[in-house]
């Protein structure tokens, strides 16, 4: 889960050309611009319950290294703030930890898992790194995009229910292709099971996470090929005095 995700860059699958660098028309992602929904005058504060959690997190570190808690606190803030880290969240965390706000901005912009723009209710991250790609992630991404009403990666559906992005390897390659919805992995996807998962989320349910193919985990889908015989129990094949 802690794998780093590619920024919500404007990459479209269709336009993938020969060059390896992504097209950037604007670098607005790494500077903050005041907007109506994201500016420092919007108040943010931890809820009571999150504040207790935050205090507990801070207590994990020696007092002179309070600022080490910046990543977990930003995550906590992001969760409380509907899944995205606004400038107010960053400023609040900076104040809470007594560090210059810029140090928090550095962290928040370094890690792509901090969304610095609002996202939909469900955050869909489709892995398109090599193993997933070989197992058909392009089709999965296309399915997700078209099923959600022809949106592009990096966009949110009109009803605000879904945001889709492309991400790098999530560490679930053995169950490729896969996608992450909110905090859960949905693996062994096909176009059909992808739609099913998305439909369930659209209705406000939460489908069972994990492989959607009937596998339990990452066991061989063709059944066992080794260690098929009965394992011998304790004492078997020993001289009688040890039996």
């Amino acid at each position: 889960m802690l794998a780093l995700r590619r920024s919500i860059a404007l990459r479209s699958i269709a336009r993938r050309g020969l060059s390896s660098s992504s097209v950037k028309r604007s670098d607005a992602l790494f500077v903050h611009r005041d907007t109506k929904y994201n500016n420092p005058s919007i108040p943010f504060e931890f809820s009571k319950e999150n504040l207790t959690k935050a205090e507990e997190i801070i207590a994990h570190y020696p007092p002179q290294y309070r600022k080490a808690a910046v990543i977990p606190l930003l995550d906590l803030g992001q969760r409380q703030n509907k899944g995205w880290t606004s400038i107010s969240v960053m400023n609040y965390v900076a104040k809470l930890l007594g560090m210059p706000p810029m140090r928090v901005y550095e962290v928040a912009t370094f890690y792509t898992m901090f969304n610095r723009e609002p996202i939909g209710d469900n955050f869909v991250q489709v892995c398109t790194t090599t193993p997933c790609m070989l197992r058909g992630s392009t089709e999965i991404l296309d399915t997700v995009c078209s099923h959600l009403g022809d949106i592009k990666p990096g966009e949110t559906t009109k009803d605000g229910k879904f945001t889709v992005i492309e991400v790098e390897c999530q560490g679930a390659c053995s169950n490729a292709p896969m996608m992450v919805v909110n905090d859960d992995f949905y693996e062994d996807l096909t176009a059909a099971s992808t739609k099913k998962v998305l439909d369930a989320f659209a209705q406000g349910q939460k489908p069972k996470p994990g492989p959607q193919s009937g596998r339990h985990t990452s066991e061989n889908s063709a059944g066992l090929t080794a260690l098929t015989s009965k394992p011998y129990g304790p004492g078997e094949f020993c001289t009688p005095e040890f039996q």
């Binding site: 060059s19 670098d27 790494f30 810029m102």
Partner: protein, 751 residues
């Protein structure tokens, strides 16, 4: 991986990075750092290694790059800077080390005893060429329109390691980064940035601007503030020098000159009393820019923005010809007429003895002060006033013992102190370069700072003790936690602002301090250490005290009939009697000139070779870079000419004879670049005399006010400067720039 993780590492490297010998030995005696994650390991011994077959010995803990340098091998670099923390992110400094499978970044690698290093092998060349190719991949090819051209590290090093053709064929083109608005001083062209993070490290470690950092990562890493903000620091110009490429250039100097067209003149700055060493770059008769010169004893490698950018004030509002007042207009005159007018005016005013007053302003040089004093004395007067509040009376601290008004601990000595008390001063505005030393020490050692006086944002944290004489009395009585810390300190230091002597409670404050120093002389004034330091803020003031340019008691009560304003532009017009004959000598048509009957045009500091004494009592020679404009003349020559016209000629005809006269007054005035210590018994005697003189001084309880409200405008040159006016608008008044984020600044800054 660059970016924030890199920055964390950079900060934690701490003091290991200062200049070779100096930082290593000065940090050895310190307690563990508190504000940084780690502190320097104490110096152990010297180690020996072989570089290119040559044996070198360096202190343990030095970086490999320093060892290579000591062996005379030149290592190309971008991110490494010996006064900043190590980042190790440009990879240009690769060298080959025996038994290491890959080339090693020599700046981030400690020198190891017995290791064998090669800096000039095919492997090294290939590695550096590779790095260079990567750096150039995203660097625009715009040298012809780049201001850094001719002094660009990337340009120079690509001559050596660059390829003559490109393999970069990305259809999407090079990385494009938006320029940032850092204010009226620093121009940015962020496409050119190679992400060395020198500017970020400087801003965070030295200048105390913790808003500058890196956002994003990898190919998208960019330098900036994330939110829209200007770089509000009086040291910001230094990042222009630090930037190895043309990403950060000087806005006022933009597209004005190329470095090879400039004549360099080594000189001394006069915007404050630190005496920063500068290099004046001129073309023809114009000063094009001012750059710092390295002097570890004074300004290290930095200068303040006022020092660097006020030079455009030298072009505006200059006095270029003598002027005579006729009715309420000034009419131009020849020098002959003007000198005659002064002589006639002196005679007509009927001024006798102490009724002849000379007022020395901020920018009067030492030679001229001596000539002025000799001239006035010759006319039988002792009325030598200074251009400051209460300047017509003898100064509280007296001028008999140097240590009463000088910065005795020396400027590098600030870094040895473990507790500093600031009294009635904000060093950030009165001596910006010195302030960054305090910050350095505060960041890397356990230095504690206390402040009595007006609250100020000093770029480091401090204990606030109060605003006036009452707080000082409490401190002297040993009340409060800070007084306790001060007692326990091994090398305590008191920095007394020069404005304290001008305050209502100045005498009482000096009295209390003198008593306190006497009582704690075991720690404050010893044979090696003198922690009682007065921080002068005006370039000419230490010299004025040194030559005794102060009024006698009797003279200070006399009403003057003839007033000679020598560069005096801060005078209160009401203090000059209506019927007095006023002569102004100076280089700018500022306040002083408007009050005068005769105006004599003189040379500014870049136009004359004169002596300047800094706040430590260090005498330094400024040098003329350009000729004075129009009919203006060197200052001391004007006074010499007047003395002739008034019939009491001064006995020196050239500057050498004048310097002989200075030698007679005090040999230290002409012992250039040296600084003489006052021995501790004399320093203590001086303080006892001071205590006796100020005994029983009344206490009004009024707060100490800071003398400098606007850092960017403190003298006629900076007041005439357009750049300084822009700085005032941007930083002092906060106009023009949309600030995002809360403007409240933390009093204590965190690393």
């Amino acid at each position: 991986m660059a970016g924030s993780a890199g920055m964390l590492r950079a900060v934690s490297r701490g003091t290991n990075t200062g200049r070779l010998g100096k930082s290593v030995c000065s940090s050895s005696s310190r307690k563990a750092g508190r504000r940084q994650l780690s502190s320097t390991a104490p110096r152990q011994a010297d180690i020996t290694l072989t570089v290119d077959g040559k044996e070198v010995t360096v202190p343990q803990g030095s970086a490999l790059i320093q060892a290579c340098e000591a062996a005379g091998a030149n290592i190309p670099r971008f991110c490494y800077h010996d006064r900043l923390a190590i980042a190790g992110n440009c990879r240009m400094c690769l060298v080959e080390v025996e038994r290491s499978p890959k080339p090693v970044a020599s700046c981030a690698m400690p020198a190891m005893p017995g290791s064998k290093v090669w800096t000039n092998t095919p492997l090294v060349h290939e590695a550096r060429e590779g790095v260079m190719e990567f750096l150039l991949a995203n660097h625009p090819l715009d040298c012809p329109i780049c201001d850094q051209g001719g002094e660009c590290d990337l340009q120079d090093q690509s001559m050596r390691y660059g390829s003559d053709r490109t393999r970069f064929h990305e259809i999407t083109g090079k990385r494009a980064v938006e320029n940032k608005d850092l204010g009226p001083l620093v121009k940015t062209s962020m496409n050119r940035c190679i992400q060395c993070t020198r500017c970020v490290r400087f801003a965070n470690e030295v200048a105390g601007v913790e808003e500058l950092g890196t956002t994003g990562r990898g190919n998208d890493l960019q330098i900036g503030m994330y939110v829209e903000k200007t770089m509000d620091s009086e040291m910001s110009g230094n990042i222009v020098d630090l930037c190895p490429v043309g990403a950060l250039t000087s806005k006022p100097y933009a597209f004005h000159a190329r470095p090879w067209e400039l004549k360099n003149t080594e000189s001394v700055d006069v915007m404050d009393a630190v005496g920063s060493n500068i290099r004046v770059d001129s073309r023809g008769v114009q000063v094009m820019r001012i750059q710092p010169r390295t002097n570890d004893d004074v300004n290290e490698e930095w200068i303040s923005d006022k020092t660097r950018y006020a030079y455009d004030g030298l072009k505006f509002q200059r006095l270029t010809t003598p002027l005579l007042k006729q009715g309420d207009r000034f009419v131009p005159a020849s020098w002959e007429e003007a000198l005659q007018a002064v002589a006639d005016g002196l005679a007509a005013s009927g001024a006798k003895g102490d009724e002849i007053q000379a007022v020395a302003g901020h920018l009067a040089d030492t030679e001229t002060l001596v000539a002025m004093k000799d001239f006035v004395n010759r006319l039988g007067s002792d009325n030598l006033a200074l251009d400051q509040a209460g300047g017509t009376a003898p100064p509280v601290h007296g001028v008999d013992v140097r240590s009463n008004y000088l910065f005795n601990s020396t400027i590098p000595g600030v870094e040895e102190a473990d507790v500093i008390l600031l009294v009635g001063t904000n060093p950030r505005h009165e001596a910006a370069v010195l302030n960054s030393r305090i910050r350095k020490s505060w960041l890397h050692t356990g230095l504690e700072v206390g402040l009595i006086g007006e609250r100020a944002d000093t770029a480091y944290g401090y204990d606030y003790l109060g605003d006036g004489a009452k707080a000082l009395a409490d401190f002297v009585a040993g009340k409060g936690a800070f007084a306790e810390k001060f007692k326990a300190a091994k090398k305590p230091m008191i920095i007394v602002g020069s404005a304290l002597a001008e305050q209502a409670d100045g005498a009482a404050a000096f009295n209390a301090l003198a008593k306190f120093v006497e009582k704690n002389k075991e720690t404050l004034v010893t044979d090696e250490w003198n922690g009682f330091s007065v921080l002068q803020r005006i370039a000419s003031r230490p010299a004025a005290y040194e030559v005794g340019f102060v009024p006698s008691k009797k003279a200070s009560t006399t009403k003057p009939k003839f007033v000679y304003l020598l560069n005096a532009d801060e005078v209160d017009p009401k203090s000059i009697p209506r019927d007095a004959f006023v002569v102004y000598q100076g280089h700018h048509g500022d306040l002083g000139a408007s009050l005068a009957d005769v105006v004599l045009p003189a040379a500014a500091y870049t136009e004359k070779s004169t002596t300047w004494i800094n706040t430590e009592g260090r005498s330094q020679l400024g040098r003329a870079a350009v000729p004075p404009p129009g009919a203006s003349r060197e200052d001391w020559k004007i006074i010499r000419a007047i003395s002739e016209a008034t019939g009491s000629p001064l006995p020196y005809d050239d500057v050498l004879a004048l310097r002989d006269r200075m030698w007679e007054l005090s040999p230290s005035l002409v012992r250039y670049d040296a600084r003489e210590r006052t021995s501790s018994p004399i320093a203590l005697a001086g303080l006892r005399a001071l205590e006796a003189r100020t005994r029983g001084a009344a206490v009004s309880g009024r707060a100490f006010v800071r003398p400098i409200a606007n850092f960017y405008m403190t003298d006629p040159i900076s007041r005439a400067s357009v750049t300084m006016a822009q700085c005032t608008r941007a930083f002092v008044k906060g106009e023009e720039y949309g600030f995002s984020g809360s403007r409240e600044q933390p009093e204590a800054a965190f690393a």
